[in-house]
Amino acid sequence: MSVSTRRLSKELTDIKNHGTPVGINLLSSDNFEEWFLSLEVLGETVYAGEVFCLRFRFDSQYPISSPAVQFVTDDKWKAPVHPHVYTNGHICASILGNEWSPVLSVIAVCVTLQSMLASCKKKELPPGNDRYVRHAPDNPKKTRFEYDDDTV
């Protein structure tokens, strides 16, 4: 059994025993390579009434290596309009990149992204969205983001 399988089964047990934080729900965790969770921001925010879907992809070195996390964009789901979220669902957040730590977890990432959305005052696309989306790799981990804005 790989390191990631052991860690993810522990996280799954924890979710089954203690539940998920408000606004976060596990949609699918059929295997230890890919999970889907729904995310909504409660309270009075610019995303009131919207529900988003997060896709997590894990390699066998998780949690030493970070998961690939993005919003799902398809017929059913849309990415939130946010200055750090590209329309293809890729997210520019330091904890998914150079500030990843192996003590983080799937739920910890969801909570961070939830608060990233909650603190947003104005729905705006990231600068250079179209250009990024046109050339973006399938896996957001292959993108080297620059984290220059801590305000939202």
Partner: protein
């Protein structure tokens, strides 16, 4: 009356002395933040807990399975930082607190 002990079974339990207050022991014990396995268990690459899969203490007071921490520190993305507080990882020399044997 004379009692003859024919045989007896000794049972022992061991724990790492992590120096943490035992007051917050909720029965689940403390786990390594990286693999989420209890300190008294072993890291995912080991089969036997104990001296072969020891703990490592940082000067920042954070504790991990040594193998888990070294695997993290061995990656460039760790920037040699403690996973808990992102301070530069400095392994602490373990001093056994002999004055507090009550633990």
């Amino acid at each position: 009356m004379k009692v003859h002990v024919k045989n007896w079974h000794a049972i022992a339990q061991w724990r790492w002395d992590t120096g943490a207050a035992d007051a917050d022991d909720d029965g689940e014990g403390d786990v390594c933040g990286i693999c989420r396995v209890p300190y008294e268990g072993c890291c995912p690459s080991c089969k036997m807990p104990g001296d072969d899969c020891p703990l490592i203490w940082g000067e920042c007071s954070h504790v991990f399975h040594m193998h888990c921490l070294l695997q993290w520190i061995g990656t460039s993305s760790s920037k040699q930082q403690c996973p808990m507080d992102r301070r530069p990882w400095v392994t602490a020399e373990r001093k056994v607190d002999r004055t507090n044997n009550a633990r």
